[in-house]
Subunit: 416 residues, 2 copies
């Protein structure tokens, strides 16, 4: 039996406990949705004021030089490179995850057209976050009519789904719904053995666990900054390309920010030599600037410690739900095996949607994902062991008291 | 002879004079670059604090509903619709101008493939802002290999450049360098007579003059919000589609924000019925939210009065340069005819680059565009007649004293 006292002891021994103070968290809330929208780093407001008041209001266009707005996507990419195992000049922060996926998908398919023109399959998991599938669909409908999207249903099927027809694989490192974590190195090896290229969607893993893009021999990666990295709502997304591929590839969203000499105002496009070729148009500077605040905090941590605490907290969550809520029929969706678990825990329940609304009313913020999935994000930098204990006590109360059984909680009017 | 006193009298009679107070302008500056980055509306900081402190920090994911983040691109589009002669539900604010051009270009080409498959030319002005050409190039290189980009050199050549081969025309309403203004209605008619489709780039016209997209029978429009609309650095861009085309078109950047039922998490894409189908991924909410501040100010103006003052100020600028600076060899690039003039004035001079640096050192902020062009943006909401008088006195001093003749001013290290 795990007790509250035991959780308190774990908090006292927590090597990351001090990081909670670096976030400005709302009162009376246990926030278990940092995998959807990360909490606000304390220094984000000050940085926003500086960008708006000094850089925009006072320095105006001079900020393109003085404040380095023009180089910000590359500087932010370099700043976060330790979090993803990237070298300098390999990463940008720009546009959205969906748009970045389109860029690298086009680059990967184009490269395969040269290398292996007979390969005509883009492979993805049916349970991918849907925008990844929609982007592949849009790409194929317009530009890859001879390519087809094949979907596999279970992570275990990947091994057989990759074959001689596979041109490109698009895969979430951590599944947005189940929390399943793919083994990056093994999967890269599998895909490369079949002469395929692999695009990693890091949305639910970056900032949640150590990532080694280069040493695992990855090809391409994209991902959100506004989830575990706490960059602010809808902040621009990351895009990484293996440097050994860089000079062999191009991408179709070839706007002026990706030009070799953007201010020569030449009428014809010439791609910048490095990762800058994946830039397109002018970036939303206020939102983009705030990305640094979240990354700043991570650079003070040891990502191995983050991973240890993440697993300890998700272990605790699973164990406590099984200990406290055994009679309520919550079905664990997330893998028990650490090797295959990201940093959120999901349980399926037929009243999942309403139960999440009831929990939100109690100040426990999780979210719901179709079908029936109650999803709880575990962010080691601002959650404690006692937070998890209390969250599970609230879950227990919601089900024990049937608090989900209110019409208002069953109406699916909400967008998230 | 125009005198300072005359300019002061014009300021006293200026029906828009009160609007200057709605902007927080830097001290000791005459800002003639609002066509590159608009000045800060006074209420922008307060709005940013609200978004960051209340919507992000306190309400967190609930803001997708409570603060209406999810619908913000469409609500902002509707808010600015009076400025572009659009109806409700026809406009979004999202992504960047370059990316929005890619979306509507793909939609237009795809529609022409059905309607007029024999048409294989995308026509544009050689002197377009280069990103427009780069995006067409990227599109063709990847997806329109049977299409070719044709460039015409002079606005007067457009009449003959449009022909039976023209599938799509991409045209800046106001040229970024020269300030040339195309006649929207006449150009739409010309292109439609040849069964072409026309994409208007409104970057240098929206907020500078009244635009009537619907009544001029336009097809597609895109444009910046961070220039005359004062939305903040790199703020997301507008995209408009004629409602009569809406249900015939699709676009390849089909991310989840453009889905008919985004939260059903279906693995297959179904486009939203209206303009939402041009949305792609999650938007940078802080930057996006600030768009409303600039538009708020414009909605209090009469755009006809804005246009009258714009023309009066650009007339004054031209006349004063000719009166005060006749001996310095400045060559007017911008059309004299009101019918063909936007809201900036450009002069060519072989020392243009260095002269702009010397002017900036004097607090007169214009910018430089290759080749030899000194560009001065005229924003009627926060510039006065006396500002123009003083700016021209500074130009006179820079050339009379050969202030441009410093090595530091001739080194092209700057990005804008």
């Amino acid at each position: 039996m795990i007790t509250l006292q035991q959780c308190e002891q774990w908090d006292q021994a927590d090597e990351l406990a001090a990081f909670k103070a670096k976030f400005d968290l709302p009162p009376n809330t246990i926030y278990l949705d940092g995998n959807s929208l990360g909490a606000m780093p304390r220094h984000a407001m000050e940085r926003a004021q500086e960008v708006i008041s000094q850089e925009w209001r006072t320095d105006l266009i001079n900020s393109w030089n003085k404040a380095g707005w023009w180089t910000l996507p590359v500087r932010l990419g370099d700043q976060m490179s330790p979090l993803i195992g990237a070298g300098p000049g390999e990463t940008i922060v720009s546009d959205s995850t969906s748009i970045n996926l389109f860029k690298v998908l086009a680059a990967a398919v184009n490269l395969q057209k040269e290398r292996h023109p007979e390969k005509k399959v883009i492979l993805a998991e049916r349970d991918s976050f849907p925008t990844d599938l929609y982007i592949i669909e849009g790409f194929n409908a317009f530009f890859g009519k001879d390519y087809r999207l094949e979907l596999f249903d279970d992570p275990a099927d990947l091994q057989t789904a990759v074959n001689e027809n596979t041109a490109v694989v698009v895969l979430s490192h951590v599944n947005y719904r189940t929390g399943y974590l793919h083994d990056m190195q093994a999967t890269n090896r599998l895909v490369h053995e079949h002469n395929g290229l692999l695009i990693w969607d890091l949305c639910h893993s970056v900032g949640a666990l150590p990532i080694e893009l280069n040493s695992s021999d990855s090809d391409f990666a994209i991902g959100c900054t506004y989830k575990y990295l706490n960059a602010g709502p809808g902040a621009p997304a990351l895009l990484w390309v293996n440097p050994k591929l860089m000079n062999q590839i191009s991408q179709p969203l070839s706007g002026w920010w990706g030009h070799k000499h953007p201010f020569a105002m030449s009428p014809s496009y010439e791609a910048a030599p490095g990762i800058e070729r994946f830039l397109c148009g002018t970036q939303p500077i206020v939102s983009l600037s705030l990305v640094a605040c979240g990354v700043d905090v991570f650079l003070q941590t040891d990502l191995q410690a983050v991973r240890r605490k993440s697993l300890a907290l998700t272990d605790l969550f699973i164990t406590l739900v099984e200990q406290e809520c055994a009679e309520f029929g919550l079905r664990l969706v997330t893998p028990r095996d650490h090797h295959f678990r990201g940093s959120h825990v999901s349980f399926a329940h037929e009243q999942g949607y309403a139960a999440i609304q009831a929990l939100i009313a109690r100040g426990v913020i999780g979210d719901y994902r179709e079908p029936e999935v109650m999803r709880f994000g575990v962010t080691p930098l601002y959650l404690s062991f006692v937070d998890i204990w209390q969250a599970v006590q609230h879950i227990k109360a919601v089900f024990a008291n049937r608090e989900w059984d209110k019409p208002a909680y069953k109406t699916r009017s909400k967008v998230t």
